[in-house]
Amino acid sequence: MNHLEQDDIILFYYGEAPEGLELHLKDCEKCMSEWTALQRTLNTVNGCPTPEPSADFEQRMWTSVRPQLCQSAPAPRPMWHLMAVAASVLLMVAAAFVLGRSARVPTPPSTSASLSQMRQQLLTLAVGDHLSRSEAVLTELLNTPDAPSTNIAQEQARAEELISANRIFRQTANHAGDVGTETILEDLEQVLLEIAHSPTILRSAEWKDLRKGIEDRGILFKVRVVESQMKEREAAPPESL
């Protein structure tokens, strides 16, 4: 029988060992003895107390830190990504607006209608793409298998990016009077915020809570429905003016 490496047993102690190791430990007296010795040693380390700071500790720390806060304002957050998303949407809306104004001077009713239609199409295209990307994140997240700990750092980073874009699209939908799109974007934003604000490493129970929260809202289903409706709108021939 091949015995376990000490490194594997250390990982097992911290709950990060590969599967199947526990079965081996049950069957192997030598490895079990090694495991027991390691456990005993590391549990001893737990038993070493750290001194407890005095009751006024927080007050002392605050008194010391507070005057220095005045001298150092929080550094601004890098905004390049948000700016890029905002710029593209604003460009889209501005283009439609400028065209609308220039067309307003001698405004034949048909031109005005076509500009409104154009705005709607631009919004549909941009939001459709946004929903596809959101759907990909949600699907990946919901398909992540249950484990003692789940790292969602990547999904959180993508959710953060989507939140910025989502806010702009939601406001644009609001200005355009597109209530349906605005509502789905509102729901989506709540879910994205929930993902972004969760701990990066989720324990099994936390992970289940997050997944249940997403599933209960039925957001993935709603996103898919709206996405397919938008695809239909994109594919539909322009209405005769």
Binding site: L11, L38, L42, C48, V65, S72, P74, N151, Q156, P199
Partner: protein, 197 residues
């Protein structure tokens, strides 16, 4: 709590500096415990607490809620603790000789070299603590940080790697080395006494 922290951070960024007191009240003791385990003394640990909160304040808008506020804060504390530990190690060489509460010299190397545990040593928990402290002091700053974050703060290998700028494998190796050193030092003290008839 995470949502709550986000709301407090938003308030601070909005200009209410005094709201930072809420986060300090919430996490200063946790940061102190981490810093104490990293630096090994209260004075340094308090310095780490103050500097951690100052650094965190300056970087608040960069937190971005990607991780929990405490994880992010502990990462700052761990990195600053490494700086403090490095400065200290430059100033003084570590020695196996320690002083107990009575000021008497305790040479813990006798425990580390011996493989024959005696019952009197098993019962002496204060010496055990000294031995743990000394062994932790002898770890490299990387080994110590990786071990403290894994063992006491329950952070994953991936999180620790991110905090220390190490690959997952390098992080594991640091933890393995730390645990092996602790075993070498402590096992003679904690192994059950074999009674021979």
């Amino acid at each position: 709590m995470a949502d709550n922290d986000a709301a407090v951070v938003a308030t601070i960024i909005g200009g209410d500096r005094d709201a930072y007191r809420v986060l300090m009240d919430r996490y200063a003791r946790g940061v102190f415990r981490l810093a104490y385990r990293m630096t090994g003394n209260e004075e340094d640990a308090e310095e780490v607490v103050q500097e951690t909160f100052l650094r965190a304040y300056k970087q608040l808008p960069r937190w971005e809620s990607r991780s929990s506020f405490s994880t992010w804060l502990y990462r700052i504390a761990a990195n600053y603790s490494i700086d403090v530990a490095r400065q200290k190690s430059k100033r003084s060489e570590t020695s196996l000789t320690q002083y107990n509460d009575d000021g008497a010299v305790v040479d813990i190397s006798q425990y580390m070299k011996s493989n024959e545990p005696g019952p009197e040593r098993l019962l002496d928990s204060s010496r055990m603590q000294e031995c743990v402290t000394t062994t932790l002091n002898e770890l490299s700053s990387q080994e110590r940080t990786a071990f403290v974050l894994r063992h006491f703060e329950d952070q994953s290998i991936e999180e620790i790697g991110t905090a220390l700028g190490l690959s997952a494998n390098a992080t594991k190796q640091s933890i393995f080395r730390a645990v092996k050193k602790l075993r070498r030092a402590l096992e003679p003290l904690v192994s059950p006494v074999k009674v021979t008839s």
